[in-house]
């Protein structure tokens, strides 16, 4: 991005837990990051790291999800503290989401046109008034006008996902959260979805994008900056290129070196996964959450690591306490 862009969404020390009979599952536990105007932020991590909780929590807090503290400033207001009525105005207009599996959530008994019309009514708009815009947007995602008169089952997975992209961005959101929108798709559809997100940003249909995925190689294609989450906390936030060239956090390092890519064969280079499994987040105590799997762990890791600044990159690991260790 050019120059110092303005921060659109500023999340500080956000905590979203799940309330259970046995206590709290600390799914998002003190996460801080920001998204600048026009920026594409990748949010990466494995299942259970809190990435979807974070995305959903910013839009709609549903029980048993519970907001425990911190803030998310959008347009000068902490959206976590808004009343349901105020939030309704912000939601989908200023900040919108393409939820995971959204493409399977379209009403099968209604035509696409009707589905769009229903959604627009929520915002005091109608299909007829937005018709030109909708057709223009369909053009961008390579779908013809005729899909409007089709039922969801008539579309393939990739086409449905592209349709969902059109629907979620009709209100030109300042921030769009896309949650695992490429995971269920074939490689060629994945590529076209990524391509379209890119075009939507170029055409300023959406302001900024938070792209949640477990797939770093997809993120590499589109993200400007990546936040790697591990067990509900930030492991590292770095520009995309830097994280690939020189990952800082031991988790990021090990994750990247476990990824197969074309050119790497079992017979020549045997890749290694990360031994062990992530901790249970139920009533989890202090300390670095990666320490049980980390080959570099030492005594200090029993305490919560703060987020250190290393040349403008952020890393939450005691190895970087003095900022000169690598």
């Amino acid at each position: 991005m050019i120059g110092v862009a303005e921060v659109v969404l500023d999340v500080r020390d956000l905590r979203i837990y799940y309330r259970t009979l046995y206590g709290y599952v600390k799914a998002v536990d003190g996460v801080s990051f920001d998204i600048k105007r026009g920026e594409i932020l990748g949010i990466a991590g494995e299942s259970g790291c809190g990435k979807s909780t974070l995305g959903n929590g910013l839009i709609l807090l549903k029980p048993p999800m519970k907001y425990m503290g911190g803030e998310a400033i959008l347009d000068g207001k902490n959206i976590m503290a808004l009343s349901p009525k105020e939030l309704r105005k912000v939601r989908y207009g200023k900040i919108s989401i393409i939820p995971q599996y959204a493409m399977d959530a379209m009403n099968p008994t209604k035509k696409i046109k009707q589905i769009i019309d229903d959604l627009l009514h929520e915002h005091g708009e109608s299909f007829e008034r937005k018709k030109d815009l909708i057709e223009e947007r369909l053009e961008i995602v390579n779908l013809g006008k005729k899909v409007l008169n089709m039922y969801p089952i008539e579309l393939s997975g990739g086409m449905k996902q592209r349709m969902v992209m059109v629907i979620s961005t009709l209100m030109n959101p300042d921030v769009l959260i896309a949650d695992e929108i490429t995971s269920a798709l074939d490689v060629s559809s994945q590529r076209s979805v990524i391509q379209m997100l890119y075009e939507m940003r170029e055409k300023k249909i959406m302001g900024s994008l938070a792209f949640i995925t477990h797939d770093l190689s997809v993120l590499y294609q589109i993200a400007d900056k990546v936040m790697v989450l591990y067990a509900g906390r930030v492991a590292e936030i770095s520009p995309m290129a830097d994280i690939v060239q020189e990952p800082l956090h031991p988790y990021t390092k090990m994750l990247l070196s476990s990824l197969p890519k074309i050119g790497v064969r079992y017979s020549q280079t045997k890749l290694k996964g990360i031994p062990g499994y992530p901790p249970s987040l139920l009533n989890i105590g202090p300390g670095c959450r990666f320490r049980d799997r980390c080959p570099y762990a030492f005594e200090k890791c029993e305490q919560d690591p703060p987020v250190f600044d290393v040349d403008g990159r952020k890393v939450s690991c005691w190895l970087f306490e003095r900022g000169d260790v690598n």
Binding site: D186, Q195, Q221, I222, L255, K261, V264, K270, L271, G273
Partner: protein
């Protein structure tokens, strides 16, 4: 004699309410697999890769064609012979959680192998064997036996299912998307496990949509598109010298770290097919010409152990 020889295998499914129309999920597919080989069957959803696996596992019946295992056609076998067949050929599937009954302990899934195939084995020997196979898939039996499925992770459950095949003398394992539900950090360990199985003499059909995983582990690669194998051969050859335009397109759209797509260049996504060309890739094909509209493509060998189903393969 090859371990597995599939000849002109076809599976049609009825479409629509009266089933008058038919969808050829697998369309005239032929291939051979030798012992101690890993073969990747790669394709997008709807390509028929899972159907091929199910046909070999005899979970569904073929419409026509033969499946020869150790030279014997298995499409008609039943009863005692079928039971014998399952000692040699087994499958592991995508969702490990749905392969276990949540109300029973893990041990049961392994014990059932004894019940079914070796009922006379005494309990003490069963236990030793179970511990052995769990250890050989890289886990500590004490942390696994006696647990319930929900107490273990997807990766652990998937390993147990692979361990199960080690109790039998399985010669061919059908591994259908076995790692797509697992986390990146544990995926590669399961792939390595398939490599170990190959060293024990087992052959694996590794069904996946992920090209880089297929490349990593397999000796041979078969690329499927809408029921046909469009390109097949040594993994190195298929990946480094792709001939079929579909294979080329797939390889170009694999997301890879260190290789950025040119996003300013327009990428044509899937189209709804409109022509009735004999080549199923015709509608999306960038190199099609008039002869593709009239002539049916045949498998041609472009180099040793590298075949392509394309009329323009020789050009």
């Amino acid at each position: 004699m090859s371990l597995l020889k599939v000849q002109n295998l076809t599976k049609e499914f009825p479409l629509g309410f009266f089933g008058k129309e038919r969808l050829k999920a697998v369309d005239d597919v032929s291939f051979e697999i030798e012992r101690s080989r890993i073969v990747s069957l790669i394709g997008e959803s709807g390509s028929g890769k899972t159907t091929v696996g199910k046909l070999i596992l005899k979970l569904i019946r073929p419409s026509s064609g033969q499946i020869l295992v150790n030279g014997r056609d298995i499409t008609q076998i039943k009863g005692k012979e079928l039971r014998e067949y399952y000692r040699k050929v087994q499958g592991v599937f995508q969702d490990p959680f749905s392969s276990f009954n949540p109300i029973y302990k893990i041990d049961r899934v392994l014990n059932m192998v004894f019940e079914e195939f070796f009922p006379d084995t005494p309990d003490s020997e069963r236990k030793t064997r179970m511990e052995e196979v769990i250890a050989s898939v890289g886990m500590n039996p004490r942390e696994i036996l006696g647990k319930y499925p929900h107490q273990l992770s997807g990766g652990q459950l998937q390993r147990i299912l692979i361990a199960r095949t080690l109790l039998l003398d399985v010669e061919l394992l059908i591994a259908d998307e076995i790692i797509s539900m697992l986390d990146a950090s544990t995926r590669v360990d399961i792939l390595n496990l398939l490599g170990d199985l190959r060293e024990r003499g087992m052959s694996v059909i590794f069904i996946t949509h992920d090209l880089s995983l297929g490349y990593y582990i397999s000796d041979e690669t078969f690329i499927m598109y809408r029921g046909n194998i469009v390109e097949m051969g040594d993994t190195e050859k298929v990946f480094h010298n792709p001939i079929h335009p579909y294979t080329k397109m797939l390889l170009e759209s694999v997301p890879e770290i260190d290789r950025k797509w040119d996003l300013s260049k327009r990428f044509v996504p899937e189209l709804v097919s409109s022509s009735n060309a004999p080549c199923k890739y015709y509608d999306r094909c960038p190199i099609r010409d008039e002869k593709c509209l009239v002539q049916k493509p045949e498998m041609v060998e472009v180099e040793k152990n590298h075949k392509v189903l394309c009329l323009k393969a020789g050009d």
